[in-house]
Symmetry: C2
Subunit: 195 residues, 2 copies
């Protein structure tokens, strides 16, 4: 493999963009700032990316791929479907606290909801629904799970998960959060009806 100088610069740009976007958000960061931090002229940035939005998307994708590594590992492991979902939730919650921009694209949806950020959100939501769906389907195929509509259930899980992030984090330390998640997952797995 030859020297990939181009890729180095590109990564440098992404690195500084990640921290600056993380500090000020998409709207409040200028391409000039990114350029300055990367010690390049602004025009050079446009040699590597065709727009500010593309830079942001690349940063998000960079963060998302970090989660994906962990998630794929879980998916391909031989553990029980139940445990796969449990593991998935933990990874998901960990990601929430670490991946600043990925998160920001979600939370600030109402503040200044730019259409392209909305698109990113939808894209990763769908990916997440797909991933949960794979676990569920595997569970169904192996006779572990039963449900009428796998896709609708996936949507329900992701939706509930996203909505629960706020109340789950508020006044909750890490150790308690895990037990809360587990108590909710118990409902998902076994329901609330005694028999």
């Amino acid at each position: 493999m030859a020297l990939a100088y181009k890729d180095d610069v590109k990564e440098k740009i992404l690195d500084v963009a990640q921290t600056i976007f993380g500090k000020f958000g998409f709207k409040k960061t200028t391409v000039d700032e990114i350029a300055a931090a990367a010690r390049k002229a602004k025009s050079s940035i446009y040699y590597y990316f065709k727009s500010k939005e593309e830079i942001f998307e690349a940063v998000i994708e960079k963060e998302a791929s970090l989660i994906r590594v962990d998630v794929i590992k879980i998916l391909e492991s031989n553990i029980d479907s139940i445990d796969k979902i449990k593991q998935y939730m933990l990874v998901r919650m960990k990601a929430l606290t670490e991946l600043v921009n990925f998160n920001d694209a979600y939370k600030n949806q109402y503040l200044d909801h730019l259409p392209f950020i909305e698109k990113i959100r939808v894209k990763y939501d769908e990916e997440e629904i797909g991933l949960i769906g794979r676990i569920l389907k595997e569970g169904v195929d192996t006779g572990k799970f039963y449900m009428q509509d796998v896709n609708l259930t996936s949507i329900a899980i992701v939706t509930a998960m996203k909505g629960l992030e706020a109340p789950l984090f508020i006044n909750t330390e890490n150790s308690e959060m895990e037990s809360r998640i587990n108590s909710l997952l118990d409902i998902l797995f076994y329901g609330i009806v005694v028999r």
Copy 2:
């Protein structure tokens, strides 16, 4: 009971305010419009309400009390806890399509999220969590349900419900919606794990 002329005027104001708020939303309706529609001077409105916000809250409360009648009826009936939740969901979804302003206060939270509307939303969310909580607690007390944390479960249900409204309504006719709700409630009741 003596003639309650005051109450008549107040209701008239609320009536016209309900339709005008319903058409234009809180921000875009003026007190002058409400006054004109009620055939009063603007100052007269302030004889009955101390602010525009108070009018809006009263309209919301008026709509909310309509739901409350149905809900209380369900709560106090002698049907099974499982069916109470099912009934509750149906009433809730029906309300969603009928009570324009109540709804608007929810949906438009991101467009122009006025702090006082946020307060209203939180208030009725908490009421809803409380209502679900009562049904759950009753189920637990009668040995029908089991869960670790009733309150957290209530939050989870309300959260999921609110989040699912959108995907549940999209491309879904009324008949199909009911079956979708039921399939999701089955998960809540019995879980997804086969045994």
